[in-house]
């Protein structure tokens, strides 16, 4: 089992390296480079730029060397914790991402928790009481949840909140904490603001997971080992949780890895609507304004998060399903 975990870990490192190459390729894709953009900026603000100055700049940033040398330099800087500077914001990329990364994780995590807390019990109920009235109601609500775009839901909730409760429910902080330093008060403020984006972001995922859980569990409920357990005299509640639900959890866990990047990239519009200070809107702007280092770094981070998520789900899967444990051992 340990050997398997180590092998997965090494593979994860390899994947992260491949992602870094890809991310670099992506930031190289737009025509021109940092200096072109910089000079254009200077020129537009009326500063006259000589070709020598541009050449100097290129040398300074290493842009005159071959692509692979540039890649190595980028990597070297990253290994020292320097992710470059944002063109547009004229600030180190890390400062730009910093807080946003943690806030994004907080929002994503609470969205995932909401998704699971809603989807697991409802999915189980719908399967166990298949074709009951409640099952039909959940199915109906579930399909609506799937069909309504999240940003629309966000707009509706914001409208309702503002119109009937007089609350401004955008953002993650109350105005007084917006620019304040971190303090217990600010954390509490964040926690109070988290549920709404979590619900909005988690709704579509929850609707989907309810369907998956229901289908999985229906399959498992027909397996002979369920009848065996029933013939032992177990209570139905304990039996279902111990045997078929555990088996039905497999697909849940194996999709854990994609969940984070999905929520981040899928939530850009919602984040804009709710003015959430998360990474999504930042990535969108960076891409629009060709802010290469910022965009590249965010892409790199998203990739790394996917890899870490997949790694965790692999390990969890091994823990949940002994068959996987033994397959890998051989």
């Amino acid at each position: 089992m340990l050997a398997y975990a180590i092998r997965r870990f090494l593979l994860a490192l390899l994947t992260i390296w491949a992602i870094s190459v890809l991310a670099f390729a992506i930031i190289q894709l737009p025509p021109g480079d940092y200096v072109t953009a910089y000079i254009a900026q200077l020129a537009s603000s009326g500063v006259d730029v000589t070709p020598e100055f541009a050449e100097n700049l290129r040398q300074q940033y290493g842009l005159d060397s071959p692509v692979w040398v540039q890649y190595l330099k980028w990597m070297e800087q990253i290994s020292r914790g320097n992710f470059g500077r944002s063109l547009e914001w004229r600030a180190p990329v890390l400062d730009m991402i910093g807080d946003r990364l943690w806030l994004t994780m907080a929002v994503s995590l609470s969205a995932v928790l909401f998704t699971w807390a809603l989807a697991l019990p409802i999915g189980i109920y719908s399967a166990v009481r298949q074709y009951s009235i409640a099952d039909y109601i959940f199915t109906f609500i579930g399909f609506i949840g799937l069909a309504v775009p999240s940003f629309l839901l966000a707009l509706i909730l914001m409208y309702v909140g503002f119109r009937y409760f007089g609350a401004n429910i955008g953002g993650l902080f109350s105005p007084e904490y917006q620019l304040a330093d971190w303090s217990p008060g600010k954390v509490w403020d964040l926690i109070k603001h988290l549920p709404l984006p979590a619900i909005i972001l988690g709704m579509a995922g929850a609707a989907q997971l309810i369907r998956i859980m229901r289908a999985n569990l229906l399959d498992e409920l027909r397996k002979p080992y369920v009848i065996t357990a029933r013939a032992k005299g177990m209570s139905e509640f304990r039996l279902i949780l111990k045997y078929p639900v555990r088996a039905a959890l497999n697909p849940f866990v194996s999709t854990l890895g994609y969940l984070f990047p999905f929520i981040i990239s899928g939530s850009i519009i919602v984040a804009l609507v709710l003015s959430l200070p998360t990474i999504g809107p930042l990535l969108l702007r960076a891409l629009v304004s060709q802010d290469m280092f910022l965009a590249g770094t965010i892409v790199l981070f998203l990739g790394i998060m996917t890899v870490i998520g997949t790694f965790i789900s692999d390990i969890l899967l091994m823990w949940i399903d002994p068959r996987i444990r033994f397959e890998r051992r051989e």
Partner: protein
């Protein structure tokens, strides 16, 4: 009861099934999987239930434990379990299927061994976990004690190195070992009745013989009643004291194993016996089969359910009236108009 006469040698039967009807209410119509089955299981003996696929053998077993799955339901009949000598007998058919009373009986007083040792265990837990759970469901013992008992049970059913095997997962065991574990689990709470539903069907012939030996040996030691369900006349011949022949959810013949094999009365039983392959048959001769096939469950024939395939059918009688299970000799019963006249009015 007529049943009691047949099986009774002094003691009343442990389990008596009377006119059991288990129907499945599907969108396409009602499937009468069990439709008026009656039989009884005497104490300390083995009853074999035999019949083709789809004759209601397994549903009968599930009905006794009240674990028939939806849309199936027991619609009529009684399942009387006689408990300790002075206690009141219970009618299992009347109990709440999810209630505590029936759950104490399931796995405790009546245990079930399934056909598929491959899929009858959950692959997510060790066999030890699954047996210990059964013990602790029915008996007030601690984890360590239950574990020791599990090891003893595994040893008893012939599992080598049980103290190591107990921590293995079902998929690490061979089919034969798994069926032994299944039997160990069924025996874990000293049941009065063991129902074995095709216990050897999924196993190879050598393993089959071993498992049957094991079952017989355990029965001799524990004096429990065994109900063995099979389509294999060989298994019946080897195991059963009494035989019940089922066709389309009804008992068509019942009696001691010798009578059934040597003096079968019902044409269906006779046909079943004729279609056993024999090593004495002439080489390359065709194995006799029963003409036709089992009717689709939605189109049960009127009258005797076997009459469309029966060589001795009497038109005007067999296709109109339903025969009843009646004594045909001192210890044998058959439901066939060759041996008794129909009741006055046609019953549908």
């Amino acid at each position: 009861m007529a049943n009691r006469e047949i099986n009774g040698e002094g003691q009343p039967p442990v389990l008596t099934v009377n006119n059991l009807k288990t129907h499945f209410f599907t969108d396409e119509g009602t499937v009468k999987a069990v439709d008026g089955a009656s039989f009884s299981a005497p104490a300390g003996k083995t009853v074999g239930i035999v019949g083709e696929s789809g004759c209601g053998k397994s549903v009968t077993a599930l009905s006794i434990l009240r674990i028939v799955q939806k849309p199936g339901r027991i619609v009529d009949g009684e399942i009387i379990l006689r408990r300790a000598d002075d206690a009141e007998p219970v009618d299992l058919a009347k109990l709440d299927a999810e209630g505590g009373a029936i759950r104490a009986i399931r796995g405790g007083e009546i245990a079930l061994v399934f056909q598929e040792p491959m899929t009858s265990f959950s692959p997510h837990y060790t066999i030890g976990n699954q047996i210990v759970e059964t013990i602790r469901l029915h008996q007030d013992v601690g984890k360590a004690e239950a574990r020791n008992r599990t090891i003893e049970l595994l040893r008893m059913v012939g599992i080598p190195r049980p103290e190591r095997r107990i921590d293995e997962y079902p998929f690490e065991l061979s089919g034969g070992l798994r069926q032994r574990v299944m039997i160990a689990m069924a025996l874990s709470c000293n049941p009065k009745i063991l129902i074995a539903d095709e216990p050897t069907t999924a196993l190879d012939v050598t393993t089959q013989a071993q498992i049957l030996d094991l079952l017989r040996e355990i029965q001799a030691r524990t004096q429990m009643s065994v109900i063995i369900i099979t389509h294999d006349m060989g298994v019946i011949a080897e195991m059963a004291d009494d035989v019940i022949v089922m066709y389309l959810g009804r008992v068509v013949e019942s009696g001691p194993v010798d009578e059934i094999f040597h003096r079968a009365k019902h044409p269906y039983t006779q046909a079943l016996l004729r279609s056993i392959p024999s090593i004495f048959a002439a080489p390359r001769s065709k194995l006799p089969t029963i003409a036709g096939s089992i009717p689709h469950p939605h189109n049960r024939p009127a009258g005797c359910p076997f009459h469309p395939r029966c060589a001795e059918r009497m038109m005007g009688k067999c296709d109109v009236h339903i025969p009843r299970l009646r004594p045909v000799s001192r210890r044998q019963m058959a439901s066939c108009f060759l041996y008794h006249e129909p009741d006055e009015a046609p019953i549908t």
